[in-house]
């Protein structure tokens, strides 16, 4: 029996999986993306490097800083801009706040898909504290247009550390509560342990990235593998799990949030003073050349391949997307799964349709 799962909005953006079922088992799965394809890469060719900022940050809207980070770093590299140290720290602060914001949405929906309504309500509520911090820095709740070529758009408000540290202390206690009520909940464990197992070899073979890659035992995080911006200034771990199942993908996300808090604390404590931006003007000309810059976003490795012909607009802007990379795992991991496992296996991959479609 062939069934269409979608293209409604299953918590994340319009997407369809064609499923072929035999009784309670999935015989074959075929991901069908493209429902929210807006032509980001084509649009980028019609706008200059500054005009590109607002639309490029929107695909993975819940990690908008993650969308822009490799973009601004690639442009800085092409223009040989020296980003001021304070700006680099602010980029990292925003990126880690966004990582938590994104992971909290992921964990909340993960709870919802497993029928755990407490997890989604708690996660959404606590997530708002981080959105609040990001709003105080960036001026908006979701899409900040905060990272710009040359630095960041503005400095953070004075005295923000007080509120920030209060939030981090509170959140650390909350993470312990999520673990108790959700991650180590016997029902959730039963539904996710041993479900949707991705072996280490397959994870590498298919080019998996992000929490999915690390939940299958591969300790690879671009912040560590190829440190960028100010990340070499901070001490943090890269959590992994050797289980490779849906449970492990939830576990790794929670552990990553603990590490993000570590980075944030260090960043707020050590942030140097100085300017936050190298002024470039409204239509900066980027010298002809090619750049491939990658960063670790909340969903995984994100990269921009930018080809410049010396004009104010990119000749070609290719967005390498972590969700698009992991999409093939939807096909692989749903094969042989129970129908009831489908939402948890799908969501555990942290797949964001709008990000994959661009």
């Amino acid at each position: 029996m062939a069934v269409s799962l979608g293209p409604q909005h299953p918590g994340s953006g319009h997407f369809r999986i064609r499923l072929w079922l035999d009784g309670d088992f999935v015989v074959r799965a075929d991901p069908d993306p493209g429902y929210v394809h807006r032509g980001e890469e084509k649009m980028a060719e019609y706008r200059n490097y500054i005009q590109n900022i607002p639309h490029l940050e929107r695909p993975a809207i819940l990690d908008s800083t993650g969308m822009l980070f490799p973009y601004v770093e690639a442009v800085d590299q092409l223009m040989s801009t020296k980003v001021p140290p304070r700006a680099a720290y602010l980029r990292v602060i925003m990126a880690e706040l966004n990582r938590i914001i994104s992971h909290m949405y992921f964990l909340g929906i993960y709870g919802l898909f497993g029928g755990h309504t407490t997890m989604i309500e708690w996660a959404n509520g606590d997530r708002d504290l981080f959105i609040d911090l990001a709003e105080r820095i960036g001026g908006a709740r979701v899409t900040f247009a905060y990272l710009v070529p040359g630095g960041v758009r503005n400095d953070m408000p004075q005295g923000l550390e007080g509120r920030a540290f209060k939030t981090f202390d509170w959140f650390e206690k909350r993470i312990a509560e999520y673990e108790k009520v959700w991650l180590y909940n016997p029902v959730f464990e039963q539904r996710t342990r041993g479900v949707g197992v991705l072996s280490r070899e397959d994870a590498i073979r298919f080019g998996a990235t992000g929490t999915v890659l690390r939940a299958s035992g591969v300790k690879h995080d671009i912040r560590r593998a190829e440190p960028y911006s100010a990340y070499s200034d901070f001490e943090f771990e890269v959590p992994v799990s050797s289980a490779g199942d849906s449970w492990a993908r939830g576990y790794v996300a929670i552990e990553e949030m603990k590490q993000s808090l570590r980075i944030l604390r260090q960043a707020f404590e050590k942030i140097p003073s100085g300017p936050v931006r190298v002024k470039l003007g409204p239509q900066p000309r980027v010298p002809a050349g090619e750049a491939y810059f990658r960063t670790e976003g909340a969903h995984g490795e994100r990269a921009y391949h930018i080809v410049s012909d010396g004009s104010p607009r990119p000749y070609r802007l290719k967005m390498e997307d972590p969700c698009f990379r992991n999409m093939i795992l939807i096909r692989e991991l749903l094969r042989g799964a129970h129908v009831a496992d489908v939402p948890l296996v799908y969501w555990g991959l942290n797949y964001w349709p709008v990000s994959a479609d661009r």
Binding site: A225, A303, K318, E320, R358
Partner: protein, 147 residues
């Protein structure tokens, strides 16, 4: 590493060697061999993406494969394996047998730029709607509506 490549593929062209990045171009017929070499001899096992660039002024489309590595000591490196195909008959060997992760990326390059990947197990559109009847939209002669 560039010496190894130049020794193995004397007709290839090293485009650039810079911090953690190396790009080299081979002829389309040599693409799969170069891919296997990059994977097995050089250690690039972690597939990232395929990018395509349209150069109508040269009547060429460039197809670039970006591959990383999770091997210790190589985790910061990304190799860019490129080839150029003529715009009016853009066909290249599929590298799905080299890197399983390439499957959906080649489909995207196929629909966006019109490059045919011979030997691809399932070459069909992925993002564009089924009833798309215009030219591949990332080609330079496709004008975005309203622009």
């Amino acid at each position: 590493m560039s010496e190894k490549i130049a020794a193995r593929f004397p007709s290839s062209r090293i485009e650039y060697v810079r911090q953690s990045r190396l790009k080299f171009t081979v002829a389309p017929e040599t693409l799969k061999e170069a891919g296997l070499f990059a994977r097995d001899e050089l250690g690039f096992d972690h597939f990232a993406t395929v990018s395509g660039v349209d150069y109508p002024s040269k009547n060429e489309i460039e197809v670039v494969y970006f591959v990383g590595s999770v091997r210790p000591g190589m985790e910061d490196l990304v190799i860019a394996l490129a080839t150029r195909v003529p715009r009016d008959a853009p066909a290249v060997q599929s590298l799905v047998e080299v890197w399983s992760g390439a499957e959906y990326h080649e489909r995207e390059t196929f629909e966006m730029l019109g490059v045919r990947f011979t030997g691809h197990p399932d070459l069909r559109r992925i993002l564009l709607p089924e009833d798309w009847d215009d030219i591949p939209p990332l080609r330079k002669d496709f004008r975005s509506p309203g622009r």
